[in-house]
Symmetry: C2
Subunit: 341 residues, 2 copies
DNA sequence: TTGTAGGCGTTATCAG
DNA sequence: CTGATAACGCCTACAA
């Protein structure tokens, strides 16, 4: 590998001068700069960041620790948000996945520490409460799509599931729906309860009673290996004599099954039944016909802004050690929801 | 940060002895080892890999360059395969995404070089022909889910789309289907042509004529922004007077739309129409009712084995510089396909 | 079995 | 404005 010394020799200057040029430090003649840059180009010199880091104690690397990358389809968006931030800010991203395993996680923290990375984004693929297993290792950390269990203090950034579900419910009520079905997510997910709470609150606030709502559990069991009742429950709800005019699904995948149930009963969407989802998981929400009214979660922004929060923390700017940021979800109105006639 | 010297001082030995213990080198007394390990534990010492790497010229880091992470839902599986390999072999993974942009890609290669990573996995999120834009930078590289354009020589690993589609078609023929519809993927995808070719070859080999097949284009246009005709074409095919008994979809997302079309026409799956997909994208293939017969692509293994090939290349073992490995796809039979009655 | 000297590629310090 | 020298944390080579 060509080193700074090679460049110095070719350019006829000292290695420190090359260093100055490479790092854009002041007090170098335009003339010298050109000589050096010529030599750099000629030799194809690329600075060795590892060597740099042992002097400067900064690596400009941030690490991402994920629990279940790829089990959930939109997981990639958070990571992409982080990457784009990193690319725009001269950082590089180390990625590690724990598969939810504590030992693996402990290892990951040690490895990241060994690489002397500047900070960690601890990314949950399902919105949930977490306890990072960092062990002895201490690295500036921001929790993404999660927050810490009581007693642990980490800055965090999460989606506003509650607000999103509230808006969605209001949308239905505004369309005149007064009898609404609801198929719940796995209760293990933080979003499941927040969404249901918001649904109930919005319904109540607009004068709906408990009898106007038909609430069913769509799935339960350990995440990744849950039992799925969605199709059956959807069939059941839609076969009721006093069938609801709208059906809220805990997420878009559930909405898919609700579509199939509705269609197989000969119901038309949205004329006979309005169906809405949550997540705006586009493979589904745009693949369904008619396209699905749903709530878009700010995954990309969670990644981008999470990285930004981490940066603040590393720089020591701002008392962000306990910041808990919450990002809005936005209602996406498509053709699966319509006014009651 | 605590360094090897701190450990040495506390343990009352030289730094080289600590180094020996840390790296498991021979010729150290059990007694000394214990002293050192005690000091390490006490101080929470973690070796600085950057420092190590400038001496040894190995970083044990491999880089992943992706084009469109997260646009495609299964992309995560390739990355997960790589990560698991890395975790099992003491490597760490640097991740960078180019969004298909040449300038960004050039930057990524330079950054990776600056980190002196051992090798690169160049991962295409759609099976396609690629030309890595490494510029001046040279790093051992393996292409994953892609192969190089003629004239470029890189080792590569790809799925056997052809074989998978052949098996799928045979499955239908074995079930007695003699009139089969086919909705094509975006022709820009390598898999699109391989799958269609295999379909035609298998059909022909089993005595079907051109008239027995109804072939339609499902989508076209630049990847990520294509125009989608699937639903319309499916409706059309299924409304034909001499409707086929089976419908092959270019991938599972297309199969989703075919389901919706079939159901909205009052057809039952699989009794009235057999529908099959491709990819085994589980959100869809298991979310559909009845669950979808499809072909599973070996994404995880592409990642894992790709990493392994890269390792061979780095170690210089085996003449793998031009190896082109192809991995089987496997037919997954579920309830959406049935015998013709 | 253990330690010393020196060097990897870079930057900080300070003198010229 | 430029350069010599030392230092970062670790490992190689060699000596003890």
């Amino acid at each position: 590998m060509v080193s700074i010394k090679d460049v110095a020799r070719v350019a006829g200057v000292s290695d420190k001068t090359v260093s100055r040029v490479v790092n854009g430090e002041p007090n170098v003649t335009a003339d010298t700069i050109e000589k050096v840059q010529l030599a750099i180009a000629g030799l194809g010199y690329i600075p060795n960041l590892a060597a740099r880091s042992i002097r400067s104690n900064r690596t400009d690397i941030i690490g991402i620790i994920t629990d279940f990358i790829s089990t959930t389809p939109y997981s990639g968006d958070i990571v992409r948000g982080v990457q784009d931030w990193a690319g725009a800010n001269g950082r590089t991203v180390l990625l590690a996945n724990t598969d939810g395993d504590q030992d693996r996680e402990a290892n990951v923290w040690r490895t990241f520490k060994a690489h002397r990375i500047d900070g960690v984004l601890y990314v949950a693929m399902y919105h949930r409460v977490v306890v990072p297993a960092a062990g002895e290792v201490s690295i500036p950390t921001v929790l993404v799509n999660s927050h810490a269990e009581d007693g642990y203090s980490y800055p965090s950034i999460e989606p506003d599931d509650y607000g999103g579900a509230y808006d969605l419910t209001r949308h239905l009520i505004d369309l005149g729906h007064r009898r609404i079905g609801y198929i719940r997510l796995n209760p293990l997910l933080l979003g499941a309860n927040q969404r249901l709470d918001a649904f109930l609150a919005a319904a109540q606030a607009h004068g709906l009673s408990e009898n106007d709502m038909i609430i069913r559990l769509g799935m339960e069991g350990p995440i990744g290996r849950e039992t799925n009742y969605v199709y059956r429950e959807a069939l059941d709800i839609l076969s009721l004599p006093d069938r609801p005019t709208a059906l809220v699904c805990g997420n878009d995948e559930m909405a898919l099954q609700a579509y199939l149930a509705a269609l197989s009963l000969g119901l038309r969407i949205p004329d006979d039944i309005t169906i809405v989802g949550f997540d705006d998981f586009r493979t589904v929400s745009l693949g369904l016909k008619p396209e699905l009214t749903t709530v878009a979660l700010p995954y990309y922004d969670l990644g981008w802004q999470g990285a930004d929060m981490l940066d603040q923390l590393i720089q020591g700017k701002g008392g962000s050690e306990t910041e808990r940021r919450v990002l809005r979800c936005s209602l996406v109105t498509r053709r699966s929801s319509t006014r009651v006639c």
